[in-house]
């Protein structure tokens, strides 16, 4: 279609050039293109110079620029240093507070620990540590959980020569003998008393001399028991008899009888002690020296356990504990006295005459913590024969010499040993 009039295309090409000139500011010739004059005026007005209203927000924009550029200046040169500075500043701001909180927490912790230590509620190892460091109470149990209380007590009492002994107003005698060790204990049986005696527990190991003495004492009492039982037509406990036979070297009756006849009676060291054997008239204000001697010299450890009578501070000693010269040593040396076997310097077994007992002062001369406030070991006289009857036995017979046999004078050890395999009980001793 070569002859078709393409005037439209031609006009479009011309208009395109004119329109490009319109869009390019400054290149449009309005005189040559009057039909585009109005459009050119519109475009020129649209691109006119700025009006004041269009520049009104300059201050706000510059303010934003200042705020932003300040941050940029600080951020750009040393970004890492600024980061560290920020951390340091924050840490420095938080540091005093943290220190204060830490100190407060530490104070609270230490105070709580100290309070717990003094309240004795900490575990034993910690309690032991607190005891050694800040003087808190001792732990009730062993510091080392692997150790038992007996181990701790044994370690505590290892420097004492005496074996384990527990003393109470009415003790129960328990004894056992083995080839290697000898362990004896006196288990307390609580009896009505105003001031119960403290419990003393010892578990030492005896040296050979003490062991021999203990064995001799046991043999002696076994002999006495055997003799007494034979008289009434009874026999000794087989185990006890076996011990006696072993000591005698033969199980025959004749050999045992010969052995027992040759066995010397144990001494009574308590009678030889100056303090208790004196014509003691306890005063309300005892001599502190004697008191100290009683404790420091170990007298009480040796002879304090001897009496079986209950010391009653309220007892009014009206009984006259007169010594009976003819009383056998068995009466004067009940079983627990074997501890005192090597304490008698004279080796005298005879009891000393006891002076007339004077009224007992109401106040104990011994410290309240010593024997539980009670005082006086001397039991009643030989005639009282009532173990545990503190009112009759009387507590005022301190060192009277006869106050230690109590109710065991009636052959009690025999029954005790016989009935309980060398482990007498209080009931048996009262027979």
């Amino acid at each position: 279609m070569p002859n078709l009039p393409f005037w439209r295309r031609h006009n479009d090409q011309t208009d395109a050039e004119q329109l490009d000139q319109l869009l390019d500011a400054g290149q449009f010739d309005a005189a040559a293109n009057p039909e585009w004059q109005s459009v050119s005026d519109v475009l020129r007005s649209a691109a006119a110079a700025a009006e004041p209203a269009e520049l009104a927000s300059e201050a706000a924009t510059l303010a934003a620029f200042r705020r932003e550029r300040v941050g940029i200046r600080h951020r750009r040169p040393q970004p890492i240093a600024r980061y560290k500075t920020v951390i340091a500043n924050r840490f420095s701001r938080l540091l005093p507070g943290r220190i204060a909180v830490g100190l407060a927490a530490g104070v609270v912790t230490l105070t709580g620990a100290a309070t717990a230590a003094y309240a004795c509620v900490l575990p034993n190892p910690i309690q032991s540590f607190a005891h050694t460091t800040i003087g808190a109470p001792k732990p009730s149990g062993p510091a080392d959980p692997k150790l038992s209380v007996a181990d701790v007590d044994a370690a505590k009492w290892k420097h004492y020569p005496a074996p384990s002994v527990s003393v109470s107003p009415t003790p129960t005698v328990t004894a056992s003998v083995s080839a290697a060790t000898v362990t004896a204990s006196v288990t307390p049986t609580p009896t009505p008393s105003k001031s119960p005696m403290p419990k003393i527990t010892k578990k030492p190991v005896l040296d050979p001399a003490q062991l021999a003495a203990v064995e001799a004492l046991i043999d002696y009492h076994l002999c006495q028991s055997n003799t007494a039982l034979t008289k009434i037509g009874k026999t000794l406990d087989p185990k006890a008899l076996a011990i006696l036979a072993k000591a005698a070297g033969s199980s025959s009756t004749a050999t045992i009888a010969a052995y027992c006849a040759a066995l010397p009676a144990p001494p009574n060291p308590c009678l030889a002690q100056p303090v208790p054997t004196a014509s003691a008239t306890p005063s309300a204000t005892p001599d502190t020296k004697d008191d100290k001697n009683l404790r420091d010299d170990g007298w009480w450890r040796w002879c304090g356990i001897c009496p079986k009578a209950t010391a009653s501070p309220s007892a009014t000693a009206t009984s006259t504990a007169t010594a009976a010269p003819g009383v056998s040593s068995l009466h004067r040396f009940p079983f627990p006295w074997f501890w005192c076997g090597d304490r008698d310097p004279q080796g005298s077994h005879s009891p000393k005459p006891t002076p007339t007992v004077k009224p007992i002062p109401t106040k104990s001369p011994f410290p309240g913590t010593w024997w539980g406030g009670g005082w006086g070991f001397g039991g009643g006289g030989p005639g009282s024969g009532n173990n545990g009857d503190s009112g009759q036995v009387g507590s005022g017979q301190v060192g009277s010499g006869q106050g230690n046999d109590g109710g065991q004078r009636n052959g009690t050890p025999v029954h005790a040993i016989q009935g309980d395999n060398l482990s007498g009980n209080s009931a048996g001793q009262r027979h």
């Binding site: 329109l19 869009l23 585009w36 520049l55």
Partner: protein, 193 residues
């Protein structure tokens, strides 16, 4: 502003010189506002402020001449306008929207107003009455002073497409200016569709 002068001013602005930045702002802010007025007449000022805040934040990262800087600023402005348009489309509109009243076509004939008082505002209103792509191309080409290539980069079009769109807009604008006044229910309404 020549390229040498612009480079010095830009470097000073990037270094934090407030006066240098003020020179850039005074040269471009009226054009940006006028460009935004054709796209979002009710929020042009706010969008211009957001545009310049973005420019301030990223000023240190910019590297280029004066045309590139101008294209960069208008690109930011256009993105802000599009973000605002998306935000408005997601935001529920109330029946008492003041912007809706502003968007209603005036009862006065735009061409007559342009011819009677050919001020900047009237010229911008006349251009804004064009279809959006045509008005945008004309504004970027005439007001922003960008070439077809730069406008194509901003709009995502080829330079030829930009050129055709601009021509169509100018012809449309010629029709608006050269024809006799019409009633608001006539061409003016149809143009907006």
């Amino acid at each position: 502003m020549s390229d040498d002068v612009f480079e010095d001013v830009l470097l000073a602005a990037q270094a934090g010189d407030e006066n240098a930045f003020a020179q850039l702002w005074r040269a471009l802010n009226p054009l940006v506002v006028r460009y935004l007025r054709t796209l979002a007449p009710t929020s042009a000022a706010d969008l211009a402020s957001e545009t310049w805040l973005q420019v301030i934040r990223n000023l240190g990262k910019f590297d280029g001449g004066e045309p590139a800087f101008r294209a960069w600023v208008f690109t930011i402005a256009r993105n802000k306008c599009l973000d605002a348009a998306r935000h408005d489309s997601r935001r529920p509109r109330s029946s008492t929207d003041d912007g809706a009243l502003d968007r209603l076509p005036s009862q006065d004939d735009t061409a007559q107003l342009a011819m009677d008082n050919l001020s900047t505002d009237a010229a911008l209103a006349l251009i804004a009455s064009l279809p959006r792509d045509q008005a945008e191309v004309i504004m970027l080409r005439v007001v922003a002073g960008l070439d077809a290539t730069a406008v194509g980069v901003i709009l995502g079009k080829s330079p030829g497409a930009v050129r055709v769109t601009a021509h169509r807009g100018l012809r449309r604008l010629q029709e608006l200016v050269g024809r006799p006044p019409v009633t608001p229910s006539g061409d003016a309404m149809r143009r907006g569709q």
